[in-house]
């Protein structure tokens, strides 16, 4: 089952909660298990003029691994350039956690996807060109997210923060 590191991140997750003044948010979900992750990024230029992810936070509705990988991806992504962050894979997230059970690898995919989606949203918003791989991944994710929104309509109607696919 879960490694001690997974349990540690689940118990004391890093960077959780909504971010004030975020640059962009990525919203992803897994239609099979039903878990949902929102990931906020703040992007700033560094001295060399590169886009740097200076802060990450997240809101997750999901399993132990979903929460632990949210926490881990937020640690991993922080301080990276956009290019570096796009390159973060679910393998990276999982192995930083000391591995995940096979059935739980998709949770780490959720985390990597969320980071990608946030970057996608940021690039769109900044009217930058979108790498083809990123676009493809987004198209897939957006479809899944739309289905999940239906499932959780009840929760979101009552609440004030509607999930609406990627902004």
């Amino acid at each position: 089952m879960y490694t001690e590191k997974v349990i540690d991140h689940f118990r004391e997750p890093h960077n959780r909660g909504k971010m004030e003044n975020y640059s962009a948010v990525g919203k992803v979900g897994n239609i099979v298990c039903g878990d949902v992750m929102w990931l906020y990024i703040k992007v700033d230029k560094n001295d060399a003029g590169q886009d740097i992810i200076t802060d990450i936070s997240w809101e997750t509705f999901g399993c132990t691994a979903a929460i632990a990988t949210s926490s881990m991806v937020s640690d991993i992504g922080k301080g990276k350039t956009i290019e570096e962050a796009i390159a973060v894979t679910n393998q990276d997230v999982a192995s930083e956690l000391g591995g995940l059970p096979p059935i739980k690898m998709h949770c780490s995919a959720l985390a990597a996807d969320a980071l990608n989606e946030a970057i996608y949203a940021y690039l769109i918003q900044e009217k930058r060109s979108i790498p083809e791989a990123l676009q493809k991944r987004h198209d897939h994710i957006a479809k899944e997210m739309a289905q999940l929104e239906e499932r959780y309509a009840a929760f979101t109607e009552k609440g004030n923060s509607k999930p609406r696919g990627c902004e």
Binding site: R16, E59, A154
Partner: protein, 385 residues
Amino acid sequence: MAMNKNVYLDNSATTPVAPEVLEAMIPFFQSRYGNASSLHSEGRDARRAVEESRALIAEHLKVHPSEIVFTSGATEADNLALLGTALRSTGGHLITSRIEHDAVRHSADWLASRGYDVTLLEVDEFGRVSADDVREAIRPDTMLVSVMAGNNEVGTIQPIRAIGEICRERSVPFHTDAVQAYGKIELPMDVIDMLSVSAHKLHGPKGVGFLYVRKGTKLTPLLHGGGHEHGRRSGTENVPGIVGLGVATQIAFEERDRVTQRMEGFREYLIQEVLKLPATRLNGHPTESLPHIANFSFEAIEGESLIMKLDEHHIATSTGSACSSPNLEPSHVLVALGVPLSMAHGSLRVSTGRQTMQDDIDALLKALPIVVQELRDMSPFKVGG
């Protein structure tokens, strides 16, 4: 790694072995280790112990000892009932329900994949099978009806007597998985042809159980070999396990009224208090329930995380969440009851045992609002009070 300071409210999953049970078992590992099939005094001693346990169980169920077939647990007992009936011929029809334990469900699935016809009975919103549906489903080629006595996830009790009577009328063998019901509620043995029990749900050891098989019920064995259990289940008898099952049975039946009354009290109190929390519901039947199981759902909560958060508070419970299942499917029981996927996702099963104290319930009720709030705070979904 001792866990006994913990609040253990997952007695439907398994129970601690009662001290009396363990004490009765120990000699059969050490000095009384004979093989019950051996001729010598060690063997005869083991045989006696096995037959005494069988007689004890038969006495409590008011059946004949030769009708008790010891197995490695209820998974095997359920498989023996279904496969042992079906494999006597190469095809036929079986009736079972949508809320059976996997041991029955996947036995039926396997038979279906082998060309048998399987009817799955629907249940109502509380998880009850209708006896009329059973009547309607029976066909001339129906080999078996299998409906569980009490559900292991939501606790709902089935109309076993009514179903059994219909089967009797139509001369169809009737099997019931009584793993959770045995020692908790009265079982109408007069209309039951086969009944599965597992020791470890009853403060007995893991790896032993039995199938009650009414005299005259035809079965082909699942485990072939030395011809143990009158040829119905081969394999060297698990003597300590069988002894433990006997003692566990005795305790359960002797203490039944007292223990189940306490359990009912806990259940009512739990329902009352948990439903005070916002966006919460009870799954299963409010009253037609096993005394030791209560199942709730929390909106916008994922069950696996809930269990893990409660575990941080040293409280052991379980969930039917998709995330907690080996195939990422939400509990088929909750789905069959019509619980929406989103609510099935946030289910919590609390199950008490003979050792449960009011303190345990209080600890859960204290921790629950805290962890529910913590998880809701972490979530993008905001649930109104």
